[in-house]
């Protein structure tokens, strides 16, 4: 098994606010991320695909194909957007790094037809990131 990783960056803004919480509770739980005007990050996304290289091409999958998938599914949807309002997949969710990574997993997983999506790693800052492994085998899904 070979693991191939491609990295992209996108910049977006968000804010954390749960309408079911009071103003004070939102401020207490989400801190400065609750600023109603939002704030932004330069996100770095690493997408890892696992597979066996095709003996004819030596490739797990065509990098160009992966690049195009990332452009369509992630960059076009999220780059220079306000994630709360402009990304329907995140509607009704708090756009934390956890939720964005899970949304990206769900967007990419069906599009990867050669090899299989192994990991989505999303950096919100260089010191904070989330690894998403999907629901495969049901392993750890509830943890």
């Amino acid at each position: 098994m070979v693991y191939l990783t491609r990295k992209i960056e996108f910049s977006a803004s968000h804010l954390y606010n749960n309408p079911a919480f009071s103003v004070e509770e939102n401020r207490r739980v989400f801190g400065k991320c609750n600023n109603p005007h939002g704030h932004g990050h330069n996100y770095v996304l690493e997408v890892t695909v696992a597979g066996e290289p095709d003996p004819a091409t030596g490739m797990v999958l065509d990098l160009k194909e992966l690049k195009d998938i990332l452009q369509t599914e992630v960059t076009d949807r999220m780059d220079h957007r306000f994630l709360n309002y402009e990304v329907p997949e995140l509607a009704g969710k708090i756009p934390t790094c956890e939720n964005i990574a899970a949304v990206i997993w769900r967007l990419l997983e069906p599009k990867i037809t050669r090899g299989s999506l192994h990991r989505v790693r999303l950096y919100e800052t260089p010191d904070l990131f989330v690894d998403c492994y999907g629901d495969r085998n049901g392993a750890g899904g509830a943890r």
């Binding site: 954390y16 969710k93 708090i94 904070l128 690894d131 492994y133």
Partner: protein, 141 residues
């Protein structure tokens, strides 16, 4: 959906690699310049990964403020700007290699109650790092 939340922290500390059961020569041969009797220091980076149920109300596995406060109390506060050999009890009789440091940090952080500790990675310098997931792990990645 299996999610790990990871966060990087920093502390600076000094140590000396020396095993009193070995002779002077053997220590020098084994640990090289890390055996310098005066010790030396590093800027350590600690990467902590936790997993847990995603709370739909907050969109979070664990509140970062809770994790930060816990890591600060258990690791950063007791280790930062310290001489590990003398000032951290476990290293009075365990050689403070970064392997052992990584295990000690994991054992301290596994008590975090708001999420499950998955992995601790310690970078001693930008060129070497050590990773520990506990004795029973290995099925996660």
């Amino acid at each position: 959906m299996k999610l790990h939340l990871a966060r990087r922290y920093r502390f600076s500390a000094s140590h000396r690699l020396h095993n009193p059961q070995f002779g002077e020569e053997e220590n020098r041969r084994l640990y090289g310049k890390c055996n310098n009797p005066y010790g030396h220091g590093h800027n350590y980076v600690v990467e902590v990964a936790v997993s847990g149920t995603l709370d739909p109300a907050t969109g979070m596995i664990a509140n970062l403020e809770d994790l930060d406060a816990f890591v600060d109390r258990e690791v950063i506060e007791p280790f930062d700007h310290k001489y590990l050999n003398e000032e951290v009890a476990v290293f009075r009789d365990t050689v403070p290699t970064t392997e052992n440091l990584c295990i000690e940090i994991f054992n301290r952080l596994r008590r975090f109650s708001a999420a499950r500790l998955e992995r601790v990675l310690v970078e001693e310098t930008g060129k070497n790092s050590f990773e520990y997931s506990g004795e029973t792990a290995g099925a996660n990645t």
